[in-house]
């Protein structure tokens, strides 16, 4: 200490040297660490690129043979080797949309109840129950759908739907036909149950981030619970909720095993929601192992590429929507 004060310049020099040495010592691990993380990030890009390239290459024979017809026809004829992807695309989109139509309101309802209205002792059991739903393997949902849900729908719900809504004007054709128990609607219901926990737990988590002060101010002004949720909680957590919904949608679009059990696996587009249909992932899972002929295999790979594109578009749309919302909020 005294030395340092007596020879300030020398002390400074030692300190600088120490510093330099210390920095040098850290530089290598730092560089290694940075390189490793960069490599990890790049690996994702390389893998993604690899998937796209191999899908595109595998799908090429189908696209070159059928051109745009592949996207606009629903013929799926392995005998004559004519393939069109419209039926599985339709099935994928429609089952996911119906599933979201059911799961979003119910999921948000559960989340609101858990964060705003639920008596404290019930919160944990219900929350855990919802999370357990997410832990059930999809094959279990499929088996349950086939053995429990489908017979139930065939014997009770579907005859009732056909007898009532099936006769109604406009929406009638949606509920026509014999009650198979298996089909588009059953698959959508199973998907709704499967995506429910994603939407619920993400929404619940983001609802909990709303500052109590905001909510209490609103209650203080005389707002009802509905008004607080509608005007304070939802606007505050919009981004998180949309994230949860998109996570659910992503799962619904790609879900394979559970859907293939209950959708009926028919390459057909029919107006009725009770009719059997198919989805992209269900078709691939069903047919890939036994696809005879290069064009058949290529068509299935092309289906995979289309699913990839659909998922990408959905994610991009979600991003855009969020950006727009933020801009409007800023303005």
């Amino acid at each position: 200490m005294t030395d340092a004060s007596l020879h300030p310049s020398r002390a400074l020099a030692t300190a600088t040297a120490d510093r330099a040495r210390a920095l040098a010592r850290h530089r290598i691990p730092d560089a290694v660490f940075a390189a490793l993380t960069r490599a990890a990030a790049l690996a994702v890009l390389v893998m993604l690129g690899g998937v796209i390239v191999s899908l595109a290459r595998g799908a090429w024979p189908a696209f070159s043979a059928f051109g745009l017809d592949f996207l606009t026809t629903s013929t799926w004829n392995p005998v004559k080797e004519r393939f069109g992807a419209l039926a599985p695309i339709y099935g994928t989109v429609v089952t996911s949309l119906i599933a979201m139509l059911i799961a979003v309101p119910v999921g948000l309802g559960i989340a609101v109840f858990l964060t705003e209205l639920c008596p404290r002792p019930l919160r944990r059991p219900i929350g855990i129950a919802v999370e357990l739903l997410a832990g059930i393997p999809s094959i279990i949902y499929g088996v349950w759908g086939l053995f429990v849900l489908a017979p139930f729908l065939q014997e009770t719900v579907q005859p009732a739907l056909i007898a009532t809504l099936g006769r109604a004007p406009l929406i009638g054709p949606l509920f026509e036909g014999p009650p198979y128990g298996i089909g588009l609607l059953t698959a959508s219901l199973i998907l709704a149950v499967m995506v429910l926990p994603f939407i619920t737990s993400v929404s619940r988590d983001v609802f909990e981030t709303v500052p109590p002060m905001l909510k209490e101010s609103a209650y203080g002004l005389g707002c009802t619970t509905w008004e607080v949720v509608r005007r304070v909680v939802l606007p505050y957590t919009r981004a998180g909720v949309i994230g949860g919904v998109m996570l659910g949608l992503g799962r619904a679009l790609g879900e394979t095993m559970a859907v293939t059990f209950v959708i009926g696996n028919a390459h057909k587009i029919q107006a009725s929601l009770l009719a059997p249909a198919t989805t992209i992932s269900a078709s691939i899972a069903n047919e890939f192992t036994e696809a005879v002929g290069d064009l058949y295999t290529a068509s299935l790979i092309a289906l995979g590429l289309i699913l990839f594109v659909i998922t990408f578009v959905v994610l991009a749309a979600a991003r855009l929507m969020l950006m727009q919302l933020e801009r409007r909020q800023g303005a």
Partner: protein, 348 residues
């Protein structure tokens, strides 16, 4: 450097030791015969110590794997055509047979009570007959009380040898079917629900009221499904059973197609079950590993001679003696690089 060289040397040694160590015969293909191949393999291993590794990945996969020569033998339900066999340098022979039966889910109707004929089944799967009390079905079943219930046709969603045999049968009995749909391991189905595998079809039929489906005989029997009797080519109503399947094999002309690639659908004869089919083995004529091919042939020979009871236990139909003789004669086409057959009858 020295160390590296040692590793390389060790690697080469290990690689060359590989085939000698791996005495297991490897095969891949059809799912339908998997249970009996597994049972035979187990008994064979106990008797000889040689194991068999069979992956039931489906006929299509089996064909691809044997074309790529990644397995010793391939297995397929739908036979390859002569031209394809020649192109890939393969021989083909039938190993065991199975029957396909129609099963239904109808309240108050016991197994074997329902009677159907080929044209009616074709019309059901074409979507032309929609209800169980349709005149065509009632006419075949004068004594039965058939409900006014929608028919739910269930079929395979995956490509399958079973589908090939079933659609081939429908094409033989219905010109309409042949024109509109055709026959293959996967077809464009006009109506119905698709389910994966025999067990998928069986489960869907059990779960869905008014359903009809086609499954291998073994699945119908083991799951105690309500099977239908069929009217055969001779116009007789027959019950699916081992004798009626064997009757189909007995009357067939096995040498009419290369690689014994015939089907046994709609054969003539009073007691013949009309939907019967063999399942086939594919072997390269010039195997990469002649010793493994010889091992595989030894196993097949053993299965022909000693496997019949085991096959019958699992509701498969063993090949008739005369066919086995023809098959074993064809095995002389499998040769080693020197052109010598890898298996001879004397090598038993």
């Amino acid at each position: 450097m020295h160390f590296k060289a040692m590793i390389v040397a060790a690697g080469i040694a290990a690689a060359s030791a590989g085939p000698a160590l791996a005495a297991d015969i490897s095969g891949a293909g059809a799912t339908f015969p998997y249970p009996i191949y597994a049972k035979w393999a187990d008994a064979y291993k106990k008797e000889t110590g040689a194991g068999l590794n069979y992956q039931s990945i489906g006929s299509g996969g089996g064909i691809k794997q044997i074309q790529a020569r990644t397995v010793t033998f391939g297995a397929t339900d739908a036979p390859l055509k002569g031209a394809d066999l020649d192109k890939d340098g393969l021989i083909q022979f039938p190993m065991v047979m199975g029957g396909i039966v129609l099963v239904a889910n109808l309240e108050g109707i016991a197994p074997g009570q329902l009677v159907l004929d080929g044209p009616t089944v074709a019309k059901i799967y074409l979507g032309e007959i929609k209800s169980w009390d349709d005149a065509a079905i009632v006419k075949l079943n004068p004594g039965l009380k058939l409900p006014s219930q929608a028919i739910v046709p269930v079929r395979r969603s995956d490509g399958s040898g079973t589908t090939f045999v079933f659609t081939d049968y429908l094409g033989k009995v219905s010109k309409d079917w042949d024109d509109k749909v055709g026959s293959a391991t996967a077809v464009e189905w006009p109506v119905g629900i698709g389910a994966k595998g025999n067990e998928g079809v069986a489960n869907n039929v059990m779960q869905t009221k008014g359903a009809i489906g086609y499954v291998e005989y073994a699945y119908a029997k083991q799951n105690k499904l309500t099977h239908a009797r069929l009217v055969n080519k001779a116009g007789k109503v027959v019950e699916p059973s081992t004798p009626s399947f064997q009757a189909a094999a007995a009357s067939a002309d096995w040498k009419s197609k290369p690689g014994f690639g015939i089907d046994l659908n709609n054969q003539a004869g009073d007691t013949v079950w009309p939907i019967t089919s063999p399942t086939f083995i594919l072997l390269p004529k010039q195997p990469k590993d002649p010793a493994a091919a010889a091992e595989a042939l030894k196993f097949f020979d053993w299965a022909y001679r000693k496997g019949d009871t085991m096959a019958a236990d699992l509701d498969y139909i063993p090949m008739p003696e005369a066919v086995v003789k023809m098959v074993e004669e064809s095995w002389t086409q499998v040769v080693d690089p020197a052109g010598k057959p890898v298996w001879t009858a004397a090598a038993k």
